[in-house]
């Protein structure tokens, strides 16, 4: 059974159809990329999956459960974590605190135990910290641990966002343009980390990406969109050479 299924999803904003009748499936364990010109509806699809927008029609199924109408905050609990195109970090806090917030879905404590900081809360905090440190080690963020986000360069922030999403320990990771704003060196690092995340941690990745080299290198399958409609799905080379895709990018 597929990990994630989108069936005929559509949404429009004030008469403009941002996404119309798009269907696709994501298999467990793969890296699935979404490509397309600006305004094709890629980020909108992410916002639909993470339930920031409501679909007008169609269904979303994750891990056998219908998530079309679940509240936004439940999505990460079910195992979907995401990053944002222009980074949405907690700017006035340290990297460490940001990542600890990423652990929030695994919270067992409640308000009253927090108020008293019971031993169980302390144990939970230690466990969270251990998890955070594992992620920090994986993505090489050690030297930024105690720095406030607002003081960090953009490339590092992007990686911190990936790290924060990993702290959720998701089954499905949504990366919105992970390489935008990164220099070539950082982009190369990113491709290795994608491999690690996908291969070692076994996390399924869906990413929106403009860098075709990275897409070709990292992804198992690619979906191309244009003007909110699906154009082609297939292996990177299939999609890259698809006549409709070429037309969408280059015009007639």
């Amino acid at each position: 059974m597929s990990l994630f299924v989108a069936e005929d999803i559509s949404i429009s904003f004030g008469g403009i159809k941002a996404v119309q009748d798009v269907s696709f499936t994501v298999e467990g364990g793969e890296v699935f990329s979404i490509v397309g010109p600006n305004g094709a509806g890629k980020t909108t699809i992410f916002n639909l999956i993470s339930r920031i927008y409501d679909v007008d029609q169609g269904t979303l199924t994750f891990d056998g459960q219908d998530i079309t109408r679940v509240p936004t905050y439940v999505v990460p609990e079910m195992g979907i974590a995401r990053t944002f195109q222009n980074t949405e970090l907690f700017d006035q806090e340290t990297v460490l605190k940001n990542l600890l917030i990423g652990c929030h879905v695994h919270r067992q404590s409640n308000f009253f135990s927090d108020l008293l900081f019971l031993p169980s809360v302390r144990r939970q905090e230690l466990a969270f910290r251990q998890r955070v440190e594992d992620v920090i080690d994986l993505l090489d963020l050690q030297r930024y641990r105690d720095q406030v986000i607002a003081n960090l360069p953009y490339g590092v922030r992007k990686m911190v966002e990936v790290a924060r999403a990993l702290c959720v320990q998701p089954k499905l990771l949504l990366l919105d343009e992970p390489s935008s704003g990164l220099n070539p060196e950082e982009t190369e690092d990113l491709s290795f980390w994608l491999e690690d995340i996908n291969g070692d941690l076994g996390i399924t990745i869906v990413m929106v990406e403009h860098d075709m080299n990275l897409v070709a290198l990292a992804s198992d399958r690619v979906m191309a969109l244009a003007d909110g409609a699906l154009v082609a799905i297939g292996t990177p080379s299939e999609v890259q050479n698809h006549p409709e895709v070429l037309r969408a990018y280059l015009g007639d």
């Binding site: 980020t43 920031i52 944002f84 222009n86």
Partner: protein, 289 residues
């Protein structure tokens, strides 16, 4: 007939709220700053008018014009001295700053003019206009007419003058306005000047019907409620919200137990925020990611 009478005095009071609210909205739209001291600026305007008309014995019309000019200057000065350093600071900080400014203006007015209530001498004091069974004080007629005239002028200003259009541009996108060569900072000063001028005008209009003292600026809070009811960020909304608050207040005073009249503006605000948080004329949207 009582109802009609109430309605009219509500509308006239509402016009004053509306004008103050207009000042709020103008500043907010252009600079995204919230000037909580707008009511106190109005108070200042009333006192300045008293100085010109009562103390310096200028003819009424000239006194009013002088007041408007002084208030425009005051507005620009406030922007330059206090608000300019706050560009780019969080909204909350600006809000607090203008609250502080309100305290300061009140103290200042108390120091200069004293805490005794005063009244503005007007050529039309005490005269009434009879329309059938309805009796209208000239003060109220002037308030309503004044509001209509000012709103028309503002509409023409924003619609047809270069400056007005530049102000609109600056309010819609600061950065883009910079890029097309609009001097955004100078526009800000002008917006503050304009809004202080409007507040001063409101002060002059309301002076004959309510006593002038340093605490009269507190109606600014009701006007604020009015601005939000109208949909913060919409100029017609501000006037409409003001009228609504004014009328509701009058009727609450008559039909509900004591105390309700004072809070009716706030109750209206809370109800509005619950059923239609974006106000009558919505201009807000949610942030995009």
């Amino acid at each position: 007939m009582e109802v009609l009478q109430l309605l009219i005095s509500g509308i006239s009071q509402g016009c004053v709220y509306g004008l103050i609210a207009l000042g709020f909205v103008l500043i907010y739209k252009a600079t995204e700053m919230v000037n909580f001291a707008q009511g106190d600026v109005m108070m200042l305007g009333a006192f300045v008018a008293v100085s010109f008309v009562n103390l310096l014995d200028l003819p009424f019309v000239w006194g009013v014009l002088a007041t408007l000019m002084v208030m425009g200057l005051v507005g620009a000065l406030l922007e330059r001295l206090l608000l300019r350093p706050m560009i780019g600071e969080p909204h909350f900080a600006v809000l607090m700053l203008t609250i502080g400014l309100g305290f300061l203006l009140r103290a200042l007015a108390g120091a200069i003019w004293g805490n005794e209530p005063r009244a503005l001498e007007t050529p039309y004091a005490g005269e009434v206009l009879r329309l059938g069974a309805v009796v209208l004080g000239y003060e109220n007629v002037v308030i309503m007419l004044g509001t209509v005239v000012l709103c028309t002028l503002l509409f023409l200003f924003f619609r047809f003058t270069r400056l007005g259009i530049a102000m609109q541009a600056a309010s819609q996108n600061q950065l883009a306005a910079y890029y097309v060569g609009i001097p955004v900072k100078r526009i800000y000063s002008l917006v503050w000047a304009l809004s202080a001028l409007i507040a001063g005008f409101a002060g002059v209009l309301t002076a004959p019907v309510s006593l002038i003292d340093p605490l009269m600026g507190f109606v600014g809070i009701k006007a604020f409620a009015a601005a939000i009811v109208g949909g913060f960020g919409s100029l017609p909304g501000a006037i409409l919200g003001g009228l609504l608050v004014g009328v509701v207040e009058q009727f609450a005073g008559l039909y509900l137990p004591t105390g309700f009249s004072d809070v009716s503006a706030y109750v209206l605000l809370l109800v509005m925020l619950m059923i239609r948080p974006q106000g009558l004329f919505a201009t807000m949207q949610r942030k995009k990611v």
